[in-house]
Symmetry: C2
Subunit: 394 residues, 2 copies
Amino acid sequence: MRKVYLDNAATTPLLPEVREAMLPFLGEDFGNPSCLHSWGDVAREAMEDARNQVAQLIAADAEEIIFTASGTESNNFAVKGLALAQQNKGKHVVVSAIEHFSVLHSAKTLEKWGFELSLIPVDKYGMVSPDDVRKNLRKDTVLVSIMHANGEVGTIEPIKEIAKIAKEKGVVFHTDAVAVAGTAPVDVKELGIDALSLAGNQFYGPKGVGALWVRKGVRIIPFLDGGVQEGGRRAGTENVPAIVGLGKAAELAKANMASRTEHLTRLRNRLLTELPSKIKHVVVTGHPQDRLPGHASFCVEFIEGEAMLMLLNSQGVAVTSGSACTSRALKASHVLIAMGLSHALAQGSLLFSFGLDNTSQDIDYVLEVLAPVVDRLRQMSPLYAKFTKTSKGG
Amino acid sequence: MRKVYLDNAATTPLLPEVREAMLPFLGEDFGNPSCLHSWGDVAREAMEDARNQVAQLIAADAEEIIFTASGTESNNFAVKGLALAQQNKGKHVVVSAIEHFSVLHSAKTLEKWGFELSLIPVDKYGMVSPDDVRKNLRKDTVLVSIMHANGEVGTIEPIKEIAKIAKEKGVVFHTDAVAVAGTAPVDVKELGIDALSLAGNQFYGPKGVGALWVRKGVRIIPFLDGGVQEGGRRAGTENVPAIVGLGKAAELAKANMASRTEHLTRLRNRLLTELPSKIKHVVVTGHPQDRLPGHASFCVEFIEGEAMLMLLNSQGVAVTSGSACTSRALKASHVLIAMGLSHALAQGSLLFSFGLDNTSQDIDYVLEVLAPVVDRLRQMSPLYAKFTKTSKGG
């Protein structure tokens, strides 16, 4: 059976070059970077090289990069750490309604700590309006966190415009760029932002490593208390092999950005066009143009997404129905609901996220196996029976 | 030049079997365990196997194990999460004065959040007295956290006795067992404790992974907000390769505990005996008997530890002068100060931590190179000049 992995939004495979870069640090070069001896020196130098590579990916300074263990940790650190650092100034934070749960739930934790939270709505494409952000800024607003792109529907947000508004009001602006960094060009200076989260496993680097970029001069309270690693900003023995892998993945992403984008966009555009033409009652979710290169998302009416995943999996195809982080929660996506979709439609969400290894033949195969899967599930669907009856009757 | 690594307390190398177990998950088996497809299944099953292996190491139930990214994260999670979960009951926590900074600074963060903190002193061996813990328990005490053993001086604390006292008073008891788990036998039921932290890189497993064991029925507030991973207790894409490595390391540690302990204890005892006989004005730190198997720590009078490290490093010998997590802070160890040592003496601290690869020849070499290093540094030491003058004069 053909095996087609189309769940790169959940996690990407390691590139062989990334794995090769990591292997010495799983072997002889096992030192702890904090140690004042040659084993420590080797680890520390490799880690600082990686810090440069990650900084270059987003046009930042190396000393502004703090390594973390995941995008989730970066987001917890940013939202809680930036808000807490400014609580004497005010206790109001602003995030969008479609943030990843690591931002949204961190903001809700801030609420428990006495902060007020404003959620910015999105339009039917999942787009945040800069004007809505402006309207929600108050004198006591200390943090705005709006994601760079949404991992479930692919929509790229107008970060530069929002950052400008935040800056005018003197409010710190953080963006969760986990879905973007390493996949599309990011220039933190050009964007005019204050902090940015990224994660290695989103661009062919390892799991277990992420980074938080915080612009020099912006105060943040440490999230992990303990030793003086990362300039006292993030305690814990550094995960050197993963950090080295993240650095290599960043270097490769920057070097090959144009060709990768071209490849992924071609595949994505083909699926966005052809799937709705082959299968009835399918809605494209997310913005038609302003979306992540490798990202094609849909809602298939009258069907539960999870059943589709199972049947596609039995045909060797790996896709998802929303975010991997919530796939086991079995709730309709808060993103799709915020975009105004009905719960019933949101249940049928289907996300294809392409990677470097995918080919046009993969799309042929997916289109071939998906149609009978949808037919089969619709035949079992009471909602579909009702719909067809009504249609015939109408 | 001979290379002798004696800094296993900072981090251990990966065992080849651990690395082998990890490699597939840095290759083909790259799936995200949260995903509902075959790539996810492979990752999830491997992760659950690892959870069993870790549980067995400490005689716990697998479902009680929460994977984290480090011992530091486990300690932050435990101290903050256990205290916050009970803040309606009271806001007083008790920790020892010689805790790792990930416990101590987490407790200080709790102070900022309105908790009161009592620090338990230690005796000259770094030993906590259970009676002191008892005296510090109050009606509003909600958490006691005392480390299982101290990583700087090796002293093993009377955890079972302390846990019993906490239990009598209905207070949750956590222990930072990062220096012990995988190195000496741990049985959480036998100890009668509620929560325990451990870290992979302390027993030939990978960096970037730890675990927090929390006894079933004990409430804890999540530290990392976000997705529903780890039963909703710890968000973030799981670091599967590292988790698999941690599992394998736990399995090997359990299987080979007796022979490892015997090997390490023999080396440690030899150094504890011979070093003070070869070099004048050396004090053994930590408890003479109740100490970690591979752990020999000293203070060398009239010398700065860091200068010793540098000269030993130039001879191929890797040791440390306290905790790796604070080695760059260049302060006298809070552990040694709490044990009543003077700042001057604490500056001369020297920690040798043996590993599986070390041999008796390594000790021969260290003793051979250390004596001239100490002589050379003492010749440059104004303190030593003063001492010898006084001695001669006296």
